[in-house]
Subunit: 213 residues, 2 copies
DNA sequence: GATCTGATGTCAGTTACTGTCATCACAGTA
DNA sequence: TACTGTGATGACAGTAACTGACATCAGATC
């Protein structure tokens, strides 16, 4: 493989995922990844900030998609609904690369250092979503909370999707997860120090049973 | 300082925070921390898994407090309320060490690697909260969503508290943040593919204005 | 064909982190 | 008092992630 073979970055990504699957993340050295891609260790670090980042190259595009969708939603759409619709679109995209997502997530789930990286990417998504909401006129702290709630909904739906047998539909799972969140948070809004207790938890399980297929 | 001075772990924690504040996290070597604590680098790594972990020694106690509070809450209390009450107790605890929290958070906010560690600690808290809820009989996915929602509420409240001038009361901020989440998520629970749009976002800002002091 | 530019290779260096074994303080015990 | 076991620490060598500096090469432009 000559020095100027095309798509060095893509070759590094593929080699890394292969090796992480074959022998695990920690048991793989950057030198090995580079060698399989026909490059040197130094070149790896020119394309990716560190050994973990090679698994998260697509995060930028996802963030772009989400923020564009939120900013572009009609004014009449409520903030959380705008976020939910954007997440559904992202979910539909993920669904097109199901096997890749599975393999990648298996690697991440097997390594805490990779989970840390995933979490900060999700936090960055939440931050970008909050910014997009503010551009829609949503004020703080509602913007931040709506964004965080959206990411929580996505996380739960994604977990369900990735661990399922393959039948589940991501946009639908996201919608169901959102319904569940609404059921779970529905309750008396306190007006001061003393809280409004006494609500049965039957409420959430009832809502869940009606939210399904 | 002799070889067997007491509280080696505590000395390492203090030396690390001092140095991270003085010259920054990345500009501090583990050897320097150990030297200031009167120990060696090797001993540092016997007490802490890595250079970041020294800032998160208290996470275990916090998790203990939260899960105990959730499991011990009366049966009549709704899941999200049980979580909120536990978070208020944790917030009250944090408030007793405000200056320490401030310094520590400033260090974390200045370094992405530390933010990653903080996020995985929060994720662990969410996971522990979800487990505690399941022990109360809450089913999935409500347990996971309620826990994630609780952590989101806490994150927003904590940000507000740490960036404020010093007057704010953590339990109250948590309660207000929860109210805001309830306002933001309140809405039509969809029963299928098409979503119930058309809700004005005025709702959330109105709720916010009434939730304050 | 000369030159410029950007991607890559080479090499030396720092530092986080680990494995291994020696050493020390202290507690118990005869 | 001497002996012994135990746990914490020190000393030292080694691996691998990551960085800085400079050389080199392929292709585009003139």
């Amino acid at each position: 493989m000559g020095r100027w073979e095309p798509n060095a970055r893509g070759r590094l990504e593929q080699a890394a995922l292969e090796l992480y699957v074959e022998r695990g993340f920690e048991q793989t050295t950057v030198a090995e990844i580079a060698e399989r891609a026909g490059l040197t260790e130094r070149t790896f670090f020119r394309h990716f900030a560190d050994k973990r980042e090679v698994l998260f190259a697509g995060a930028g595009a996802l963030q772009e998609l989400l923020t564009t969708a939120v900013v572009g939603a009609p004014d009449s759409v409520a903030p959380l609904e705008a976020v939910a619709t954007a997440l559904e679109a992202a979910g539909a995209l993920l669904q097109e690369r199901r096997e890749y997502s599975r393999r990648r997530q298996a690697v991440i789930n097997a390594n805490p250092a990779l989970q840390e990286r995933e979490l900060i990417k999700l936090a960055a998504l939440a931050s970008a979503l909050a910014d997009a909401l503010r551009r829609r006129g949503v004020t703080d702290p509602a913007a931040g909370l709506t964004a965080e709630a959206g990411i929580a909904v996505f996380k739960i739906a994604f977990e369900h999707w990735i661990s399922g047998t393959g039948e589940a539909d991501m946009p639908q799972l996201i919608r169901e997860s959102l319904d569940e969140l609404r059921a779970v948070t529905a309750g008396h809004v306190s007006t001061g120090g003393d809280a409004g207790y006494g609500q049965s938890q039957t409420r959430s399980s009832q809502a869940r049973s009606t939210a399904g297929t």
